[in-house]
């Protein structure tokens, strides 16, 4: 593994990334935000059936992605429905993603059989089979087991919410991973709500990461709205995985800016003041921007250009998606089985 040894933070920017890397990441984050906002609008226009917004979660998704992109050999991703950032960063283009939200022909993950972001893109090493919360967590562990059995230098990572952590699936998966010291990262995007259920009704602890010691697994709590904190924690976890030292639980604390999904009405259970405060204090995009400008990694002009480019790209994606047709259903009966029964 020596050749994949991960350098400790040695840059002024607080990570082992170059400033160009950071600009690249920031551009993706801006694009993610713009795309997410547009999709929400399209839902309100009746064009996208259901949306679970990533707004507020951008840094957790992109920070961890960037860490694996830079440091791991071909990571496998097992994200959940809120992880638009993973798909975008992995290189699925905005138009294709938009097509997913509109359930149109050409949808790359499931052929529009599933909700947006569900299905898989093997070329991007992303699998997110199901809406059933937490089921992806043992899948990621199984993927890590495959890597271990085969002796491959591959890290698997799975994403899930605070709500998911209550499921037996997560308990069993973490326990298994730790017993066998599997190369897997558990990244919990703790936005303090499972739909309407606040954290204090989900668990009697403040930190989900406390669970890790019960499995003999290291953990880390990070400000999930800070790109570099998430980045650095993930680098460390990836290194641990590659070193054969097993899994890590990273708890990224952050805020959900919008209702649970476009079907939800969060005014029924969330105080407007609380939400307002969250948006002010915990906006990952604003924070990242401020950091880059303060540290002179990005100029205001660059920033404006990035915004412009994102807007153009989202407009373009919208046009493409809007003009796509419905799936024609020719293959409706296909792919029930991979091995045909004669």
């Amino acid at each position: 593994m020596a050749n994949k040894r991960i350098a400790k933070s040695n840059k002024l920017n607080g990570s082992d990334l170059t400033n160009e890397d950071l600009l690249d990441a920031y551009s993706t984050m801006v694009l993610l935000q713009a795309l997410d906002k547009r999709i929400w609008i399209m839902n309100r226009q009746g064009k996208a059936a259901i949306v679970a917004s990533s707004q507020g979660h951008e840094a957790a998704q992109l920070g961890s992605f960037w860490a694996l992109k830079h440091h791991s050999v071909n990571p496998w991703f097992f994200p959940y429905y809120r992880d638009l950032g993973i798909y975008l960063a992995a290189g699925i283009n905005p138009a294709e993603l938009m097509i997913g939200y509109m359930a149109k022909k050409g949808e790359p993950l499931s052929g529009a059989r599933q909700f947006p972001l569900h299905g898989a893109d093997l070329s991007k090493r992303i699998i997110n089979q199901s809406n059933v919360v937490a089921t992806q967590v043992p899948h990621a562990v199984g993927s890590a087991l495959a890597s271990k059995i085969r002796g491959e230098q591959i890290v698997s990572i799975t994403y899930f919410g605070d709500g998911a952590s209550s499921e037996g699936d997560v308990h069993e998966a973490m326990n298994f991973a730790s017993i066998h010291k599997l190369p897997v990262i558990f990244l919990c995007e703790n936005n303090k709500y499972a739909i309407s259920v606040p954290q204090k009704l989900q668990m009697a602890v403040d930190d989900i990461s406390l669970r890790a010691s019960g499995y003999g697994m290291p953990s880390d709590v990070v400000d999930g709205t800070d790109f570099l904190q998430v980045y650095n924690a993930t680098v460390e976890a990836a290194q641990r995985a590659l070193d054969g030292d097993g899994p890590t639980l990273i708890e990224a604390k952050l805020e959900r800016f919008l209702p649970h999904t476009s079907d939800d009405d969060d005014t029924r259970y969330r105080e407007p003041e609380e939400l307002q405060l969250a948006k002010q204090s915990s906006d990952p995009v604003a924070k990242f921007k401020e950091f880059l400008i303060l540290n002179k990694i990005m100029t205001k002009e660059q920033s404006a250009q990035i915004d412009e480019r994102a807007k153009a790209e989202v407009n373009n994606a919208t046009n493409i998606a809007e003009s796509a047709g419905q799936p024609d259903g020719d293959d409706f009966y296909e792919h029930v089985y991979a091995t045909k029964v004669e």
Binding site: A112, Q114, F115, S130, G168, A194, V197, D264, G329, V336
Partner: protein, 327 residues
């Protein structure tokens, strides 16, 4: 009589029973402040308090398992599974445990538990918000399984289910929640578990169905009446135990039967109905018993065009009727 929709019928049934009996409580994800994702328990938290309206952690196995424990002690939990597609983690407790408690304790302990869950498709739910898992439960001795199709049936059966001393799985077709309206008496009433109902009398052919499909079948019956085909429409309402008598008597009368359900065909409820007819009404049959059901794919896809291919529709039902009548 006031006209209400199915979700309101469900809400009223729970509200009345919780008002009457302090041992009835509601547990599930988002049933509290949110009032349930379909608003079936809107306002309940304020009325009954957090001890009896419990916003559970996202963990269906324990929602069922904890409810069973409370029910063993004589309480009457109503446990909501937010969508039927998410009942799978709880199957160990529902099918493995609840169904066997009374038998396994030789009648000492019983589990007066209602598992409520929205099921079914036609709502752009995709693979994991459209499933119809009723057959799994209907195959399980020890459970009672109810699939109402109208507000009247939903309210009367849910109230009976809450007062029943056994574990009852109560599936509410989510497409009927707001789309299906009907009259419901202001006075209290109950409907018997285990009894189907002839929703339309007819002489030529029996259509046996339940859930959302009832409404499609009634539509077909009306359409075909104008063509001189007089269809009897039998709503099973309860899937376990099945109302064998009603099925058999209807088929003996008409001599022809079609079964319609949204769930996939193989080993579905329709298979059992067909087998019952084969066993008990063989001599009365003038034509093969056909089944119209969801296709043998893992679940209903998301895109509208694909969803339409999955869903049984009036056209397919009419075709089956025509074929059977021509036999």
């Amino acid at each position: 009589m006031p006209e209400i929709n199915v979700i309101e019928a469900v809400r009223q049934a729970m509200y009345e029973e919780m008002t009457r009996d302090p041992e009835v409580f509601l547990i599930g994800e988002d049933v509290g402040k949110r009032g349930g994702v379909f608003l079936a328990s809107e306002g309940f938290l304020e009325t009954f308090g957090p001890d009896r309206v419990i916003d559970a952690p996202l963990a269906e196995d324990s929602i069922a398992g904890v409810s069973i424990g409370a029910a063993m002690r004589g309480m009457r939990p109503i446990a909501e599974m937010q969508f039927a597609d998410f009942v799978w983690p709880a199957v160990n407790q529902i099918i493995g445990e609840a169904a066997r408690v009374h038998y396994g304790t030789n009648g000492q302990v019983n589990v007066p538990l209602v598992i409520r869950s929205p099921y079914g498709g036609g709502v752009r739910g995709g693979l994991y918000h459209s499933q119809s898992p009723e057959a799994y439960f209907a195959h399980t001795p020890g459970l009672k399984v109810i699939c109402p199709a109208t507000p009247y049936d939903a309210k009367g059966l849910l109230k009976s289910a809450i007062r029943d001393n056994d574990p009852v799985v109560f599936f509410e077709h989510k497409r009927t929640y707001r789309a299906v309206k009907g009259e419901v008496p202001e006075e209290e009433y109950f409907l018997p578990i285990g009894k189907g109902e002839i929703k339309k009398n007819g002489a030529h052919l029996s259509i046996i169905t339940y859930g959302l499909m009832l409404h499609y079948c009634l539509e077909v019956a009306e359409i075909l009446l104008s063509e001189g085909i007089d269809i009897e429409v039998l709503d099973l309402r309860t899937l376990r135990p099945l109302d064998q008598e009603l099925i058999v008597s209807s088929v003996k009368k008409t001599g022809r039967a079609i079964i319609v359900h949204e769930d996939t065909k193989a080993l579905g409820v329709g298979a059992e109905v067909s087998a019952i007819i084969a066993e008990q009404a063989f001599d009365f049959l003038d034509a093969p018993v056909l089944r119209i059901a969801g296709p043998e794919v893992p679940a209903m896809p998301f895109a509208t065009s694909l969803e339409d291919i999955f869903m049984p529709n009036t056209e397919r039902i009419i075709q089956a009727v025509t074929q059977t009548m021509a036999y």
